[in-house]
């Protein structure tokens, strides 16, 4: 059975139902949320299939031209890393949908329609086994995001939407040119075949490989984002609706990491190894630049946005280490940050809903009025600053373990980021929850039972990975073994 196709396009059922239903809020909310539960269930099926050793790959002939010289297939497949990202996608999507149902005031139906299309795109990106298909799904994520930000966001939503579109459009233009060039040179876009071709070292010139690798770095660097290509992302974090930011910080940014590791490292491993010091420097800049900027922000969402920039620096550092510890650390960080960022923004959304502000200067002492929310925020902050027992620690430890083996000086400088993360996280989180109540807000109430579910689910996953990382390594083991030979490690 073609589980992958089924899963990717399962949100279509929701889209169909929504478009024929009445616009009554309750039914729309329910359909919207349930429509995301379907891919969640299917992804769990795929998880068990994957571990049962079942063959999930799909390949059909699709487009052919140039007298059969150029053949594009509809090819899907997963490895451990993409499977974990798929699970992350389906889980965070469901949680985000439940948040949207509570927080999106107008046009909920349209919101869910776009949202479900977005989910198809995300699932497709992590499942596609050839570049053309990947690109198509990648593009599918852009359009819904543009509308979701532009229509349902905060004050500067339109500016943020355009900013998003321009940068990501630029990134995908580079991808398109690159993929076309690769196609033209090699006659295939299948990722496995490309890996084999690049490993054999004959078909394409060294310059072409370097060029391709750098193009990938820029294209996915926009997505990750790598400083200085990050300003759009900060804007989106601040002005997009919270439910969308959960998706954005939690999953969409991960496409950058996924692309870099899967294509950059996977296909152009040798070239990647040569520029590893350069990538490590980029990682350091991300880590420290993000941290220091987060330290001086006056707005909670900006703090967390720069915190994301900073945390993505760890991904770059781990990848640059070019050893198993580093790469595993980068992958862990990708997943871990997805969960933590989703939780942080979920809580920001709840705080904003109660207080109508996210300014640090007008928030304070919330632990009194909403102890549960404050407790969750503190826990999320601790997770973000890499507290042992939570997922962030495992990923940071591995990334630094790896980097210290190959580039000890870079790693030593990077540890400054560990301190700075604690500094800015505590400044923001304690500023909001501890201390004197600066303003008393009317109608303040703690987390409701409904809100508890996504918060508790995310925190539970974060703690689970932190306490028992084998749950991830178990799925990841084979993938790493397939990446490592590519870089001669």
């Amino acid at each position: 059975m073609d589980w992958l196709t089924l899963m990717i396009f399962s949100p279509l059922i929701g889209i169909l139902l929504l478009s024929v239903q009445s616009a009554e809020r309750k039914t729309v909310s329910l359909t919207g949320i349930l429509a995301t539960v379907l891919p969640l269930l299917l992804s769990l099926v795929i998880y068990t299939q994957f571990h049962g050793g079942g063959n999930l790959g799909v390949s059909h002939g699709w487009i052919s031209f140039g007298n059969g010289m150029f053949q594009v297939n509809y090819e899907l497949g997963i490895d451990g890393f993409s499977l974990l990202l798929i699970l992350l996608t389906t889980i965070v999507s469901t949680l985000s949908a439940s948040v949207a149902a509570a927080q999106i005031k107008q046009g909920l139906k349209a919101y869910f329609l776009w949202f479900l299309i977005l989910e198809i795109g995300m699932l497709g990106v992590f499942t596609a086994e050839n570049l053309i298909l990947f690109f198509i799904f990648f593009e599918i994520t852009l359009v819904p995001m543009f509308f979701l930000i532009g229509r349902w966001g905060f004050v500067e939503r339109e500016k943020a939407a355009y900013s998003f579109l321009i940068y990501n459009g630029l990134g995908s233009a580079i991808l398109l040119i690159l993929f076309a060039a690769i196609f033209a040179k090699t006659g295939t876009t299948n990722i496995e075949e490309l890996k084999a071709i690049m490993a054999s070292g004959e078909a394409v010139s060294e310059e072409f490989r370097y060029g391709s690798m750098l193009a990938l770095l820029v294209a996915f660097g926009v997505k990750l984002p790598i400083v200085p290509l990050h300003t759009w992302m900060v804007r989106v974090h601040v002005h997009a609706p919270i439910a969308v930011v959960m998706i954005h910080a939690g999953i969409l940014l991960k496409i950058g990491a996924y692309g870099l590791i899967n294509f950059g490292l996977g296909i152009f491993g040798d070239q990647f190894a040569k520029v590893a010091p350069f990538i490590a420097i980029l990682g350091l800049i991300n880590l420290l630049y993000g941290a220091f900027l987060a330290f001086v922000q006056n707005e909670l969402k900006s703090v967390f946005a720069y915190s994301s920039v900073s945390h993505m620096g760890i991904v770059l550092l781990g990848v640059a280490a070019m050893n198993e510890a580093g790469i595993q650390g980068a992958i862990f960080q990708t997943l871990s940050h997805g969960l933590i960022a989703a939780l942080l923004f979920l809580l920001v959304g709840i705080i904003h809903q109660r207080t109508h502000t996210t300014k640090l200067s007008s928030l304070g002492g919330l632990a009194k009025g909403m102890p549960l929310a404050a407790g969750f925020l503190l826990a999320a902050g601790m997770a973000s600053l890499g507290l042992p027992g939570m997922s962030g620690f495992v990923s940071e430890f591995m990334a630094f373990l790896g980097l210290f083996e190959t580039m000890p000086w870079m790693a030593a400088i990077g540890t400054l980021g560990i301190i700075m993360t604690a500094v800015y996280m505590l400044r923001a989180v304690l500023g909001v929850t501890y201390g004197k109540t600066i303003k008393s807000f009317t109608g303040m109430y703690d987390l409701t039972r409904i809100e508890m579910i996504p918060a508790a689910a995310l925190l539970a996953l974060i703690v689970l990975i932190g306490v028992y990382p084998a749950i991830i390594t178990h799925t990841l083991q084979l993938t790493l073994e397939s990446i490592m030979p590519g870089i001669g490690g």
């Binding site: 300003t231 330290f295 002492g365 507290l387 210290f404 083996e405």
Partner: protein
């Protein structure tokens, strides 16, 4: 039994989780949950201790994290040092749990308090049975969180918030040192298991320069946790937490974790003479430096806090001077008498509702239990003969003497004099003279508070006898006898060292007696004769201010510089790129002029380019 030692930290963890999830319904009954579970841990610890003594060391572990071929393990190990620490930690924690029932009884967040205590106790117990550095590091950070949560327990107070943040960040600076040292060590010996580290180090697998660097980095972690100079500033501020917390975390257990770390990795330090000197000198300097600040503070808890910093310095000095047993011995006696002093101070604060010793006095007659136990604690810490502190301090002085560190030996003596002086200053001001309190009626605390104090007073008085030159060095033989990596020499010290230490203690007590009891000497001698020195010491040498004006402002300046770059460089470049795009767009739209000739020309040029490309690339495009 030893392989099941993991049960010991499990019970406080259960207490934490139960109270976290169900505590709201239980209210005051929460304290019984906390006390009960910690009591079980204490009992198990005692059993483990006796099993270790009878059958020798043991443990168990399993794989926790795999990275390719690399494995990181999780488990328990029980050696003499671990067993001793288990008993100290679980006992003090148990007593503090009982004490808190009285001290915190009116607090509406009692449940939260007990759940945090459970979290801390869990992490601390798990820390001291870690068989490898990574696990130790994990719980090392978790005890930091327990400490952070409890310092910030009164979260609505700005001071508590600032103190909690400071404690977390300052110790994290140290933790990063430990993390780097740990990773560097891993790449040298290929494992983080203590046994393999020791084997690797003694087998000469680590180049000497690197070993010194690693040892010093690990020591940086200990400096942060144990409040050693220059990372000590968080510890006095941590007194914002409830007093039972100060007794448990910031006197007896967590702050001693740094000393424990150095002791647990003693073979690594010992292999590097340079690192040993660093440990000894930092410890010695902290011992005397903090003692001078303690001389002039007026807040009862802050005096005790600086005293803690100073005593931890003593322990470090001992370890640095190869006095492994001396350091661990003092860790134990200090845990008892300092916990006692804090609990007694808490009892006083509970009674008079102030922490300012200027507003106390004459409490001896009103608090018939607190007074005497405080006196016992004071005698013990001052090193008065026959009390526990006397024996352990004597060991430390002997260790420095035998290691040939005569400068540190002198420093140890002078710090001992200061200690005796400021502690008796405290005692006389709080318990003798007339009552300067605003309250007319002062009552002794409830039984749940006094019983733990009495137990600790007993230990503070007699715990020293397990390691005395006269009756036998049981502790020393046991601690060092088990491991091939630990040296142990009996210091059959010259009697004059013991005599000098006693005289010094009595001199300090005598001076405090003359000034604060007999009042035959001027109290404001220092402040009136050396105002500059007084100001300097009273303001803790302005180290907080120094950090604020250098590190903190520098970090903020970097942040603002970043914002500036973001706003005026990154954004401007982006705007420029957008501008170029827009210009190109408008150029393009100008071509759409409606003139057929222009279109024709464009089409021709385009075709030419295409043809050229096809020919040039050999038909690929």
């Amino acid at each position: 039994m030893l392989e099941n030692a993991w049960l010991i930290p499990l019970f406080p963890l259960l207490s934490f989780l139960l109270l976290l999830f169900f505590g709201k319904q239980w209210k005051e009954k929460s304290s019984y949950v906390g006390i009960g579970f910690t009591g079980v841990s204490f009992l198990l610890s005692v059993i483990v201790l006796f099993t270790q003594i009878a059958n020798g060391s043991g443990g168990a572990d399993m794989v926790w994290l795999t990275i390719g071929q690399l494995e990181f393990r999780f488990g328990v190990i029980v050696t003499p040092l671990n067993a001793l620490m288990l008993v100290i930690v679980s006992l003090v924690s148990f007593l503090v749990h009982i004490y808190s029932k009285g001290y915190m009884h009116s607090d509406e967040r009692l449940t939260t308090f007990y759940s945090y205590l459970g979290l801390f106790t869990f992490a601390m117990l798990a820390l001291v049975i870690s068989p490898n550095l990574l696990q130790l590091y994990i719980f090392w950070e978790l005890v930091g969180v327990g400490s952070f949560l409890l310092i910030g327990f009164y979260f609505y107070k700005e001071e508590a918030k600032a103190a909690a943040k400071k404690a977390f960040v300052m110790t994290r600076i140290g933790d990063v040192g430990l993390l780097i040292g740990m990773i560097l060590l891993f790449w040298q010996v290929g494992s983080l298991e203590f046994n393999e580290i020791f084997a690797g180090v003694s087998g000469g697998e680590v180049p000497e320069g690197l070993l010194t660097l690693i040892a010093i980095l690990i020591f940086v972690g200990a400096v942060g946790k144990s409040g050693q100079f220059p990372l000590h500033t968080w510890l006095p501020d941590a007194m914002e937490g409830p007093t039972p917390v100060s007794a448990l975390i910031h006197a007896a257990t967590m702050v001693a974790a740094g000393v424990y770390l150095v002791a647990a990795l003693f073979p690594v330090f010992e292999a590097s003479p340079a690192a040993m000197t660093v440990v000894a000198v930092v410890g010695g300097f902290t011992a005397i430096f903090a003692a001078t600040i303690g001389l002039v503070q007026t807040d009862i808890k802050r005096v005790l806090a600086y005293s803690t910093v100073s005593q931890l310095g003593y322990m470090m000095m001992a370890l640095g001077a190869a006095g492994y047993v001396a350091g661990v011995f003092h860790l134990m006696t200090h845990a008892f008498f300092k916990a006692l002093l804090f609990l007694a101070a808490g009892s006083v604060i509970h009674a008079v509702h102030t922490q300012n010793i200027e507003k106390m006095g004459g409490l001896w007659t009103k608090m018939r239990i607190t007074g005497p136990v405080f006196l016992i604690g004071t005698l013990a810490i001052s090193g008065v003969p026959l009390f526990s502190g006397f024996f352990s301090k004597d060991e430390i002085l002997l260790a420095t003497w035998y290691d040939g560190r005569y400068g540190l030996f002198i420093i140890g003596l002078v710090a001992a004099f200061f200690t005796a002086f400021y502690m008796f200053r405290l005692f006389f001001m709080v318990f003798t003279g007339e009552n300067r309190s605003a309250l007319s009626e002062v009552r002794e605390s409830s039984r749940s508070m006094t019983i733990p104090m009495v137990v600790l007073a007993f230990l503070a008085a007699f715990a020293g006898y397990i390691n005395t030159p006269r009756f036998g060095t049981f502790l020393g033989d046991w601690l060092a006898g088990d491991s091939e990596f630990l040296p142990f020499e009996h210091h059959e010290g010259p009697v004059w060292v013991m005599l000098a230490a006693s005289l010094i203690a009595f001199a300090g007590i005598g001076l405090a007696y003359l000034i604060y009891y007999k009042k035959s000497l001027q109290r404001d001698f220092l402040s009136s004769h050396m105002p500059a020195t007084y100001t300097l010491v009273f303001n803790k040498y302005f180290i907080d201010e120094f950090y604020q004006y250098t590190v903190e402002y520098a970090a903020r300046a970097v942040g603002y510089l970043g914002s500036f770059i973001e706003k005026y460089i990154v954004e401007v470049i982006v705007a420029a790129v957008a501008g170029v795009t827009r210009a190109a767009g408008s150029l393009g739209s100008k071509l759409q002029s409606g003139q057929v000739q222009t279109y024709g020309a464009m089409a021709f040029i385009g075709l030419a380019i295409l043809v050229f490309l096809v020919v040039w690339t050999g038909g690929y495009l």
